[in-house]
């Protein structure tokens, strides 16, 4: 129930990777026959991914994962183009792999606009348009949010940015999108999305961990983070992770093939789950966008707040029954701050502390959900018995609740 954290490697993916560990292990940079073969596999993977993205093979840079791709896009573009401007636009609900590099740039003298989101976690193209300045060099907005599944209107934002560039006769700003959560289920056509840079990783789409892709359009120059042998068009040195690269290509291909049918199945299951929770547990609240519209929320994401109880305690109880999910509660974070995404959506701390995120996956069945519902209501009841808190506001209304002290 935590597939947004990571997914298992699909067996077909593992099978595709297998020959590249012990058999075809040559360094693809070599000139001999076995190297050329491995290099061929590398280029096949590059071509396959480029096709899925409606891009060119030399737009695909393989990296060591989603976080690295985000860092490379942000630091690479900002540092290369800082002479043209030092303003960056992003949102308050980005993944930390985007937020923290941008905050680092802020310390180095960049000016940052952190766009607000509405109560569902959405930004609009209009907001981006209003924030654009003549010194804006980069806009980075995620395709879909990892905690509450909000799908951002990337294509509309992309169009606004194109329009701005045309009107002002400039090539800035560049548009980056972190698509790690979206890659398994949404359209990745970069021509439609109008992105210049886009991050994808393997470990969320039933591919291997430790491998990522940065799509980079040809006319955008960036600085590398890692220098060395000059691999990946000099943008990411280091001998290529060939098994990983073959794996991520296969995983992405599989995701494309099955996504329509699987999305529908996941949505039905997820909606059934939410109905069950509402029926069997009092005082619960859906966090993030409505479930009915497939264009605004990822099909596998369910994020709920269960009032009067704390998320980590819930999590540990669920784990005792073999149920794994995550929470936005401060108690599980290193910083002891509740989820920045939930608080950016205007959720009071009390609600964020009691939030649970379930993310369904390929192996999730209705039986799994029925199994959870066998235990979850009882666990909630038990923890509410322990709790002195009794929040009294209508959980559907998103304002700071009053609670009484008994």
């Amino acid at each position: 129930m935590d597939h947004a954290a990571t997914t298992p490697v699909d067996l077909a993916v593992k099978k595709a990777m297998d020959p590249y560990f012990c058999q075809h292990y040559a360094n693809p940079s070599g000139l001999y026959q076995s190297s050329r073969e491995v290099n061929g596999a590398l280029n096949d993977a590059r071509r396959k991914i480029a096709e899925i993205l409606h891009a060119l093979p030399d737009n695909i840079i393989f990296t060591g994962g989603g976080s690295e791709s985000d860092n490379l896009a942000i630091f690479g573009a900002a540092r290369k183009h800082q002479k043209s401007g030092k303003h960056i636009i992003t949102t308050k609900i980005e993944h930390h792999a985007v937020l923290l590099p941008i905050e680092q740039l802020q310390k180095e003298g960049f000016e940052i606009t952190f766009l607000d989101v509405d109560e569902c976690g959405r930004v609009t193209a209009e907001q981006v348009k209003k924030a654009l300045r003549h010194d804006t060099i980069l806009v980075s907005i995620m395709y879909a949010n990892n905690e509450i599944g909000t799908i951002e209107p990337i294509a509309e934002i992309g169009k606004e940015i194109l329009k701005w560039r045309k009107q002002n006769n400039t090539s800035y700003p560049f548009f980056h999108s972190d698509a790690c959560q979206a890659a398994g289920s949404l359209d990745l056509n970069v021509e439609k999305l109008h992105v210049d840079l886009m991050t994808i990783n393997g470990s969320k789409i039933y591919g291997p961990k430790g491998v990522g892709v940065l799509f980079k359009i040809r006319n955008v120059d960036i600085l590398p983070l890692i220098f060395g042998g000059g691999q990946e068009m000099r943008l990411r040195s280091g001998t290529e992770n060939v098994p990983g690269i073959v794996g991520i290509a296969k995983a992405l291909e599989n995701a494309r093939k099955n996504s329509k049918k699987e999305n529908l199945r996941l949505r039905k299951l997820r909606d059934y789950f939410w109905q069950q929770i509402q029926d069997k547990i009092k005082k619960v609240r859906l966090n993030g966008p409505e479930l009915g519209d497939e264009t605004v929320r990822l099909p596998n994401n369910l994020n709920v707040s269960i009032l009067d109880v704390e998320g980590e305690a819930l999590l540990l109880y669920l784990d005792e029954y073999g149920i794994m999910c995550s929470t936005g509660s401060a108690c599980t974070s290193q910083s002891l701050e509740p989820s920045h995404v939930l608080t950016a959506c205007g959720l009071p701390y009390e609600y964020a502390h009691g939030s649970l995120r379930f993310t369904l996956g390929k192996s999730t069945t209705k039986q799994d959900i029925d199994y959870i519902m066998e235990y979850l209501p009882g666990i909630v009841e038990r923890l509410r018995e322990v709790s002195p808190v009794n929040l009294t506001c209508d959980p559907k209304k998103n304002f700071h609740p009053k609670y009484h002290q008994r």
Partner: protein, 155 residues
Amino acid sequence: MSKEAKIRDKEGKAWLYTDVVKDHFFNPKNLLKHGEEENYNADASGRVGSPACGDEMALWLKIDKKSERITECKWQTFGCASAIASTSMLSVMVTENGGMKVDDALKIKPQDILARLGGLPARKVHCSVLGDQALRTAINDWFQKTGQNQRIINV
């Protein structure tokens, strides 16, 4: 989904918390059930924290006036496993062996609760800090109710 799944810490230990913490979390001792607060007739009570900061504790005490021993200590806690376990442990500490004297109970430090729990992960230590605060708040309440205002201490 396997039934054997366990949360592992960075050293690969099967459970993030000690067995003592786990026991007090899953089987809290001296809990005051909802709805029983009114009829419980506590001699004193205290409440610290708020759900907004992530932890809130409420404590009810029965104290024998003659011997100044704490005979009962009941509680409710909103918070994570370590917050629940440390309040539960505290309630055991002050009531075992015939009950702790009020003056001794005032001296309980978070470290004492931690020691009895067999430790907590570093970033969870603050959870047990609330427990001793709640206890002192409750004892102050008792001082006030029994007209011993001069004995009230800083929480």
